[in-house]
């Protein structure tokens, strides 16, 4: 039977929704026992949140002041110390998981499968390669421990209502001092998180300036949406790095995605093609974004966006 350990992602107080999506991935394996490990300085509240995810049988609290910030070099040996009984170790394919899971895999001398879209059975997994232009089915060795990162855009959050047992684990292992947290400058917290927002509005180079991005923020605030950007817009300095959507940025799957002034390079499309509904607004009728958009509107974004904002404001949406 598969024993799956999921490494919880959190910000020190709140569990990240990516963790409940990893649970959905793990639960696809019939009969899998799912355990969540919470490494934190104070894991209490996060562990309670993890224990309430349906389908989780156990939550392990690993508390240490050194776990106040998620440094892979410190977290990896702690996860390895509890890894013995597990067949699969999973983390989200976020910057947290991408940083940590390969370090764990190497310490365990086992392979990692990145960006898992589906666990078909204990040894067969599907994942995208080449910016999502091909999907490969990977077979791992039967009986070998496997590490993976879960492509969170492929999964819904597992529901709540669970009542897993929470256990505190005390580890007596040395942690390295060679890696030290200095600071985190977070993006704006008054808007929904890009990776879990149900609505996302993204802008491209056609916005022309950081100043012009403000019309997107205004519309986003009206819709309760997160704001993203194409790589071109980020490279041009119109938007912050953490707003980039695409192959090398964030892969998202909102209910509604509105691409504004984005032509739709393949690397961008790979980051949005799991969105439920895609709207494209672009002055170039030939832009590739229209090939995958459910609704396209050709025209000047500087006229369309304010008008769209007026119409949704009027309706109180």
């Amino acid at each position: 039977m598969s024993q799956i350990l999921i490494v919880a992602e959190h910000d020190g107080t709140t569990l990240n929704p990516a963790t409940a999506k990893c649970v959905s991935c793990a639960r696809a394996l019939s009969g899998a026992q799912v355990t969540i490990a919470v490494c934190a300085a104070d894991a209490g509240r996060i562990a309670v949140q993890a224990a309430s995810i349906a389908g989780v049988s156990r939550v392990l609290k690993i508390e240490n002041p050194a776990n106040a910030h998620p440094l892979a070099a410190l977290l990896a040996p702690q996860i390895v110390a509890i890894a013995a009984d597990f067949t699969h170790l999973l983390g989200p394919s976020t910057t947290f998981g991408k940083d940590l899971m390969p370090r764990i895999a190497a310490l365990l001398n086992c392979a990692q499968v990145s960006n898992i879209m589906a666990l078909e059975d204990a040894t067969h997994l599907r994942r995208p390669i080449y910016a999502g232009n091909a999907i490969v089915t990977v077979e791992s060795q039967a009986g070998a421990k496997l590490v993976g990162t879960v492509r969170i855009a492929s999964f819904e959050m597992a529901p709540g209502g669970g009542q897993a047992a929470v256990e505190a684990v005390t580890l007596d292992i040395p942690l390295p001092a060679h890696t030290r947290f200095v600071s985190l400058s977070a993006g704006k917290a008054d808007r929904p998180d890009l990776q879990s927002a149900t609505r996302v509005i993204s802008g491209g180079r056609a916005l022309g300036s950081a100043e012009n991005f403000k019309i997107l923020y205004a519309l986003a605030d009206e819709l309760g949406a997160a704001v993203g950007a194409s790589r071109a817009a980020v490279d041009a300095g119109y938007a912050a790095n953490d707003m980039q959507v695409g192959q090398t940025g964030k892969i998202i799957a909102p209910e509604l995605y509105i691409a504004i002034g984005i032509s739709g390079a393949i690397q961008h499309l790979t980051g949005i093609k799991d969105a439920r509904t895609i709207v494209a607004i672009n002055k170039d009728a030939e832009a590739p974004i229209f090939e995958i958009a459910d609704f396209g509107l050709v025209g000047d974004l500087f006229q369309i966006v304010p008008e769209l904002q007026r119409l949704v404001t009027k309706s109180g949406d």
Binding site: R103, N133, V138, R180, V234, D242, T277, A293
Partner: protein, 250 residues
């Protein structure tokens, strides 16, 4: 000698439209344009800038790959790397094997810093950097957008989902690059000529004492599910109407 070791990978050029072979055994790579993985180009550029600031003496570039991967090493030498190491492998190696190869190169070269791309744009694995740091038992700073080298330590700003995180690491260490770290230079023709004279050593996995141990098998390749092309609406009112009909706007 303060040395920086840079890993590069030969990949299908980012502008090539990838097609899955009709028999599902792989993707079509015959005759397509190949290039240095873009993130690795950024890694090399950063190493060259560190050397140009006088913070390093030598930049060594290494790759694991087929005979033709020497083309990418020559490009790297033309960009400014001092020496190149080609570890021959006619089959792709898994990230853990790649990390084991780099461990052997580290033992030979004793670098102050190893810089790799955060991911290769073919397999999109994003594994080799952290795996190498783990085997080496040294710090890792992934997704770097700024590297500040000091005596014995480095301060690295990382592009994380929540924003920009800064960490301090002791050297030697592994850094992986993100897009905004720098903009790689263009190669000039005289540099291509000069690069032909720079040393390029070829090694084999056997010579390095690394046995590739594949643990994963790719059993089937498929094209991704295609989205249906939608409709063009004539104005904003129609758009809002359609979105309401779908229930995505109330």
């Amino acid at each position: 000698m303060k040395r920086i070791l840079v890993g590069i990978k030969r990949v299908v050029d980012a502008n090539v439209r990838i097609r899955v072979k009709s028999d599902g055994t792989g993707v079509e790579t015959d005759g397509v344009k190949m290039a240095i993985n873009p993130f690795d180009e950024i890694a090399l550029e950063e190493a060259l800038r560190i050397k140009e600031r006088g913070m390093a003496d030598e930049v060594v570039v290494a790759t694991i790959g087929v005979a033709d991967a020497q083309q990418q090493l020559r490009t790297a030498l033309a960009m400014g790397a001092d020496r190149a190491l080609h570890v021959r492998s006619d089959t792709g190696v898994e990230p853990l094997t790649a990390a084991n190869v780099f461990m052997k190169l580290i033992a030979r070269e004793e670098p102050l810093l190893v810089i790799l791309g955060k991911q290769a744009i073919d397999d999109d694995n994003s594994q080799t950097g952290p795996m190498l740091a783990a085997l080496w038992n040294r710090p890792q700073a992934t997704f770097a957008s700024k590297i500040e080298l000091n005596e014995g330590t480095a301060r690295v700003t990382r592009e994380v989902d929540a924003g920009l995180e800064t960490i301090e690491i002791d050297l030697p260490a592994v850094v992986t690059t993100d897009l905004r770290l720098n903009e790689p230079r263009y190669v000039k023709l005289p540099d291509i000529m000069k690069a032909k004279k720079k040393p390029l050593d070829t090694l084999t996995l056997a010579e390095l004492g690394v046995e590739p141990r594949p643990q994963l098998k790719s059993v089937r390749f498929e094209p991704p599910a295609q989205r249906q092309k939608g409709v063009l609406v004539k104005d904003v009112a129609e758009l809002v109407g359609e979105l309401r009909k779908r229930g995505v706007l109330s």
